[in-house]
Every structure is written in C-alpha cells, then in structure tokens.
C-alpha cells in the first residue's frame, strides 16, 4: 500500500534505510549477505509498504532518533502480552490492520463510521520527530508519519457540548490474545483528552514511522501520539472516537487511580509510586538523563494547564 500526499521530499530520502538499522542488524546482515544475499535480513523487517511523500515539518528534535529495531521491538502493548518483546513477536502475525473502520460519534454534528484510509486522507501526511517518554522511566525519539488529530476531529464537527474526546482500541480476542482474559484487565483499552488538548497542534495521529506503514506492534493502523504525555496516553489501534461532555474513563486510571491520573503529563517533579520521574533512560544510552517538564514541550503546551495544580491533577 502506498499513501501519497502533496509536496515535500519522500521520507525514505530523508532517512537512509541503513541509518535505521542498528549495528546488531548490520552484523546479522553482513553474515547473511555472504550466504543468501541482503534480502534475507531486510526481509525480517518486511512491512506493508512505504508512505511516500510525507512532508517534513518544523516538529524535529536535536537528539538522535532511536533505531528502528528498538522502536519496533520494545513495546508496551498489553493486548499482545505484558512483556515488551511480545508485541513484536505476536502482533505482526495476528493483527489485521485492513480493512479497518473507525467509529466517530457523540457530541458532533456529523457522526460517521469511516474507513481508516478515508480518515487518513483528512489531511496531508507529515513527518514529525517526537520525543516519547514512558511512565516506566525510559524514552525514545521516533520519526512518526501521520496527520494532526485536529484535522481529523474537525471533519465530524464537534458541538459545544464536546468537552472531552474518548478513544477506544480494538479488543478482538481472535487478533489480540492478551484481551482474552477480561478479569485481569478492563478491556478494551481506553484513553481520553480534554477537547483543547485534542485540538492542540502537537496532538498527532500516526499511521507510520520511519517512512513506512505503522508496524502492528506499534499500534497499526492508526494511533495517537501525544509527546508531552506519558506514552500510555497515546492509545494504539484506535477503533472508536467519541465526543462527550463527561470526562472519559481510562484504562490505567481504572486499574490504579492513585498511580495513573487523567492528565498524565510528563512531569519530573511528580513521582509515580513505582518510578521516580526526575530522570529517564533514553533507549540506547547508558546514563540516565534529566526528564524535561512536559517532555520538553512546555513552551507549546504549558498554556493548556495554566492555573492548574499539576501535583493534584497529575
């Protein structure tokens, strides 16, 4: 599948493929090349296709991007198991990202159930390199391909009663073995945003990374990316978007309300009961580095929370 959008150089031109491959894969590649040719190690990476022509945007970070191997093999996606290597092992063979529809409903003038490819055409594709900070104390830098969340939401004309947006992931036990046990976790995975957060220019819907269609384990075919919030807010494999007046219930908040707040903005000053948040380990680095307020996006998003006590509304 090739998704085209207007203008800009192809992402595949911006980031040469060999840069994405970690040193480990290069070694594997070099060994295998002698025997069966370069196609084999690259074949392991095989994915649905390239996203040609995503425009490079002003959303870039100085830091070096995390390798494709690490971005796609170290994932929290409990629908496929609670170990971080399980999504990469299980999701590609099980998740069927097409055909895929997203139901948009609630406080809006034009509710509809739309095909994901139609949804993706709401706006030109962009490449954005964002920092990604997990509540567990690790972080990555990821070149996403996708579109602004606001461009998608606007299409459905939210009314003045749309104070919040609620999101739901797929929870199909046939595709997602982790969702079979409904006593352990309150499936489906759910997340929510205040409408002004959802409409913020940083809020992004990713459909790819590193210039290619989103791998299953990263939340194919479409997922949220909210770089100023802890990673679990960035819900994967979205099937439902609902505008509502009441604050939505969320998966982790329901499991442990004292640990995972509704906002869950990255905040080095507020510790999680399990993990200190002052520092983080950037995947691929040895020493922990200081965590930045709002994950380094304070300039853009601090205004959303003016006057709020972020220790209480964590």
């Amino acid at each position: 599948m090739i998704i085209r959008s207007a203008g800009g150089p192809a992402t595949s031109e911006i980031t040469p493929r060999r840069v994405w491959l970690s040193r480990r894969q290069w070694l594997t590649g070099a060994v295998a090349a002698g025997a069966v040719g370069m196609l084999v190690p690259l074949g392991r990476q095989a994915r649905a296709g390239t996203l040609a022509g995503a425009t490079k945007t002003r959303y870039q970070v100085e830091d070096k991007a995390t390798s494709l191997e690490d971005v796609t093999h170290y994932n929290n996606f409990y629908e496929f198991g609670t170990d971080k290597d399980e999504p990469a092992r299980r999701a590609p063979g099980l998740l069927r990202p097409r055909p895929w529809t997203v139901r948009v409903e609630g406080e809006c003038a034009a509710p509809a159930t739309v095909d994901v490819d139609d949804l993706i055409r709401s706006s030109a594709l962009e490449e954005r390199i964002y920092r990604h900070r997990c509540v567990e104390g690790w972080s990555m830098v990821i070149p996403w391909v996708g579109l602004p969340l606001s461009a998608v939401l606007d299409r459905f004309q939210p009314t003045s009663r749309a104070k919040y947006v609620a999101f739901e992931s797929l929870a199909d036990p046939a595709q997602m073995p982790g969702t079979r046990d409904r006593t352990l976790f309150p499936w489906p995975y759910r997340e929510g945003l205040r409408i002004d957060e959802a409409m913020h220019p940083l809020a992004f819907l990713a459909v790819g990374l590193y210039g290619e269609t989103l791998p299953a384990q990263n939340g194919a075919p479409i997922r949220l990316v909210l770089p100023w919030k802890y990673g679990f807010k960035s819900i994967k494999s979205v099937v439902s978007i609902r505008f509502q007046e009441a604050r939505p219930e969320t998966f982790w908040n329901r499991l442990a309300p004292s640990e995972y707040g509704f906002y869950s903005n990255v905040n080095p000053g507020v510790d999680h009961p399990r993990w200190s948040q002052a520092k983080e380990r950037r995947i691929g680095e040895f020493l922990r580095r200081p965590t930045l307020m709002f994950n380094g996006y304070a300039e853009e998003v601090a205004g959303l929370y003016a006057g709020m006590d972020l220790k209480r509304d964590f």
């Binding site: 040193r23 480990r24 191997e69 690490d70 093999h73 170290y74 409990y78 609670t82 971080k84 290597d85 567990e136 690790w138 352990l184 976790f185 499991l255 442990a256 510790d271 009961p273 399990r274 993990w275 200190s276 002052a278 520092k279 380990r281 995947i283 691929g284 040895f286 020493l287 922990r288």
Partner: protein
Amino acid sequence: MATAVLTRWRRWDRPALHLLCALPLLILSVKGLSGDLGANPIEALVRGIGDWALRLLVVALAVTPIRRLTGLSRLAAYRRMLGLWAFAYVVLHLSAYIVLDQFFDWQAIAGEIRKHKFITAGILSVILLLPLAATSTGAMVRRLGGVRWKWLHRLVYLAVPLAGIHYLWMVKADTRQPIAYLVLILLCLGARLFHARHSRGAGLQ
C-alpha cells in the same frame, strides 16, 4: 552397581549443582556481551538477575520441607550452597541496580528507597539476609552454637517473603507470577510451622 553409581554421583553432585547455579549468570553475561538483551539491556539484566535471586531463595527454602517429605537426606548437603548462590544473585542484582541502573547516584538511590515501597521491601530483605550469609561458614556455626545459629537463621522466613513482596509491588498490573512465588514461600513457611508443632508433639510421647 547401584551403590557405585550413587557413590560416583555423590562425588559429582555438588560441582554439578554449582555449575547449574552459575548457568543463568553465564547466559545473561554472554547475552549482555553480545548485545542480545534487547533494547533496554540494563533493565533486562537487573530483572534477569532478580528473577534468579528469588528463584534460588525459594529453592533453598524448599530444601528442608522436601527432604522431610521425601526422606532424601542427601538434600541437606545442598542447602547452604543454594542459599549462598541465592545471596550471590541478590548482591549482583543490587550491584547492577546501583552501578548500571543508577550509576552511583546515591541521592537518587536514597530517594527510591524512601519513596518506592517495592525498593524499600527489597533493601529490607537484603539487610535481613546479610547476617545469614555472614554466618554461613562452619566456623561461624560453631562460634554461635547450634541453637543461636538456628534462631538467627529463622530470619529467612522474614527475608524471603519480603523479597516476594518486593516483586509483587514492582509489578504494574499482572500479579500472577509474584503471587505464585509468594504462595510457594508461604507453603515452605507452613511446612516449617507444621513440623515444629508436629515434632514437639512427638517429643512428648
């Protein structure tokens, strides 16, 4: 013939067990050195060593109940060795945390011990295990005298449950595995209490 095999086994069982106990560490080291521990090798190492620390503690704890249950008296010869291997993994786990995870950031470490109850439980467990490891030699047993040594080593029934609780509190959501460990630990503790009552009763006869 059978006795010859048994004699030979008795010569090799302890070295074989040492090797077996060293194996997880060997595998983790090889994986670590060849870059085979995934995207977050430090986490993988801390966790991998922690897993084996807890496993070996439970195995060491289970030696006596299993010996009593099966009558395999030879098992007693493995108890100290298993306990010391467990302690070695505990020390390595803690060292990996201090050196690799926190890189000697003592302020952060002190903060974690104070603020995160799973770390508090872990450190309490280590503190309780220290005197046991220190008094594990034959000379120390003699110096303390059997009765006092036995009393001291009952600390294990506090230290190992605390290690299990450390794991339980660390886990984010799926607590099945730490609970399984805690059940095993409680079974060993139960067997110990049962034996104490039972043998006292027998003594009265």
